[in-house]
């Protein structure tokens, strides 16, 4: 560790103090009013989501503002936004493990949970936007009496496989990491029924060295396959757009640009969740300034890649000499949806320049505000890419604008409610920091100082 950097684990800790502190958040901490208020607000959001989905199913996609040619709008914007948010969790748990970044230990558990809940929110969106969502399983290859197969040459089918695999691998990766911690909760629980529930969830984990060896190997292998997986998922998402000929979509920079944007927005959400959580649970010794500052640095790096992609997109539309591409670029900045374009420039390009300064990177309040700003900016980015391109394509006679209805907005706001409801419940019943990995960290840090 170089001088002047905050430690990855502050304070004096032993194996038992780490176990007691983190497991205690689940087992011994009384329910506080702030958490209940959070649950209440997100539950209202969840009800809104349920009502909006119910109304959508009853009446069809006509309740949204979508039309032809703007057949993709809020639902797909939400899909790309949510799935992008998920990517930071996998990046932290898999990529940073391979890179031996020990600071990932305190933040990987809740970031992986964030991934799962974001993927759950993302997964609903393409299904909701199907005209006949009850036929969603037609996307899957199964032996059907119609004798029809999905179109395997279509990026939309690739998306089904990419998101399905991503959700499954994220879930088993997260649960594998949870097993030793569930055993800790089982052994610390006072009430028999609590011990029984955690015991059943721990699958009888007993910390055998033979089991640990397989666990570690499998964990490393999962990291190895999850790293290219996470890159493939958002690349495939970008191919949904770039495989078409719509101006503003048909571009080879999309896959890397989308992956960088995904990790950018995901780290913003990590900070949005980590900063209040560390305050509420008094986890400042575990999630230190080192973690927050490293996230801020990654925001700056990925944000600058995104900025570079914006510049290249504008350059290429000029360099291509394609009048439709040129018009698309000018229309983004000056057309009907110009306000969204300038919001994204302000949020994703201008605001992150503050992160060059250490004073900002180590200021918790500033980071929290910036993380919200970036979340907004990345939503605006996807809206601009999707809606502005569709609304003004080749034939002026088929131009049409998109205006969201209350149901568009309800489903978006409602999905936020669903996400935060799941996250708040997770923070209450499962350890938000990996206990066994933190014990290992205590052990390894102890060895270094000897």
């Amino acid at each position: 560790m170089s001088q002047g950097e905050a430690p990855v684990l502050a304070g004096v800790h032993s194996y038992s103090s780490v176990s007691d502190k983190i497991a205690g958040l689940v087992l011994r901490r009384p329910v506080k009013r702030l958490w209940l208020v959070g649950i209440l607000i997100s539950f209202v959001g969840f009800i809104l989501f349920s009502v909006a989905v119910g109304y959508l199913f009853a009446r069809g996609v006509g309740v949204w503002g979508v039309n032809v040619p703007v057949a993709w709008a809020f639902a797909i914007t939400n899909f790309v936004w949510w799935i992008g948010i998920g990517h930071a969790g996998t990046f932290i748990s898999a990529f940073l493990l391979l890179m031996r970044q020990e600071w990932r230990t305190s933040i990987n558990r809740f970031a992986e949970a964030m991934t799962l809940f974001a993927v759950a929110c993302a997964g609903t969106m393409p299904l909701l936007h199907l005209g006949r969502p009850w036929f969603f399983y037609w996307l899957l290859p199964y032996p059907d009496t119609m004798g029809v197969w999905p179109q395997f040459r279509s990026p939309l089918i690739w998306d089904v496989f990419a998101v399905g695999t991503y959700g499954t691998i994220s879930l088993i990766f997260w649960y594998l990491g949870l097993l030793p911690d569930l055993a800790t909760l089982r052994d610390q629980a006072q009430r028999p029924w609590v011990a029984r529930i955690y015991g059943a969830m721990a699958l009888g984990w007993r910390g055998s060295a033979r089991h640990w060896a397989r666990y570690e190997k499998a964990y490393l292998l999962l990291s190895g396959i999850a790293t290219p997986l996470v890159i493939s998922v958002h690349s495939v998402v970008s191919l949904d757009f770039t495989a078409t000929i719509v101006p503003g979509w048909h571009s080879t920079i999309f896959p890397p640009y989308f992956v960088a944007g995904a990790i950018f927005s995901g780290f913003a959400m990590v900070l949005t969740l980590a900063i209040p959580m560390r305050k509420y649970f008094a986890l400042e010794e575990f999630i230190t300034m080192r973690h927050l500052e490293n996230c801020a640095k990654l925001l700056l790096v990925t944000g600058m890649i995104v900025t570079y992609s914006y510049v290249i997109e504008i350059f290429m539309s000029w360099y291509s000499a394609d009048p439709f591409e040129k018009y698309e670029t000018i229309n983004r900045a000056l057309g009907e949806y110009a306000i969204d374009f300038w919001i994204l420039i302000l949020c994703n390009v201008v605001s992150i320049q503050l992160l060059w300064f250490k004073a900002i990177r180590t200021n918790v309040t500033a980071l929290f505000i910036l993380s919200l700003v970036i979340n907004v900016g990345m939503w605006a980015e996807r809206f601009v890419i999707i809606v502005v391109s569709l609304a003004r394509d080749y034939l002026p006679s088929s131009w049409r604008s998109f205006h969201p209805t209350q149901w568009d907005i309800s489903i978006y706001v409602g999905s936020l409610g669903l996400f935060f409801l799941l996250f708040l419940l997770f923070a209450r019943v499962l350890p938000v920091i990996s206990i066994s990995e933190t014990r290992k960290l205590v052990h390894d840090l102890g060895k270094e100082t000897h």
């Binding site: 197969w149 055998s208 089991h211």
Partner: protein, 174 residues
């Protein structure tokens, strides 16, 4: 009786004890710790290599299965002529092939490599009867020599374990 369990103070002492136990000729013994200790792999004669093998096999099954499925669907079962383009357009099959390779590898790593090989879920195990074993998931380090080891003799093994300097020693009933 399942075996004799000795509790040690630290990870380092557990490693030393495991090495001594192996050197004394015992083979059916196991260590229990609240976090993974890489140095235990050698004395226990265990490693996760089979996990890598089943992960590879799972990945290959996913790869082969996905590619075959797409070939079968697009060439044999349901060929669609789109402007005379080839039915066997294999570059378009790569994304699904990649995803299912990852899925196959990941599922076999966890469900076969960890759960099946470890015999989990197994909610009851005799070692849970060892005294203070609930600390093994928090801050305690255990070594248990099992009764079915050919060298195991209750009194001899008890004295051997005592010689390793444990914090406590207990008999583990079945």
């Amino acid at each position: 009786m399942y075996g004799l369990a000795a509790e040690f103070k630290s990870a380092e002492e557990l490693v030393t004890a495991a090495e001594a136990t192996r050197a004394a000729g015992y083979r059916d013994f196991d260590c229990y710790s609240p976090f993974p200790i890489d140095e235990l792999v050698a004395p226990l004669g265990t490693h996760g290599d089979k996990v890598a093998l089943v992960t590879l096999l799972g990945g290959l099954v996913g790869l082969g299965g996905a590619f075959f499925m797409q070939w079968y669907a697009c060439v044999i079962s349901y060929p669609v002529n789109i402007g005379g383009r080839p039915f066997f357009s294999w570059p378009a099959f790569i994304p699904v092939t990649f995803e299912l390779t990852v899925l196959g590898a990941g599922l076999s790593a966890v469900f076969i490599g960890v759960l099946a090989f470890c015999g989990l879920p197994q909610l009851y195990h005799p070692i849970f009867n060892a005294r203070r074993f609930e600390r093994a998931s928090q801050d305690a380090f255990f070594l248990c020599v099992e009764a079915n080891d050919p060298l195991f003799e209750r009194d001899l093994t008890w004295r051997f374990l005592e010689g390793l300097g444990p914090l406590a020693l207990s008999e583990v009933p079945r």
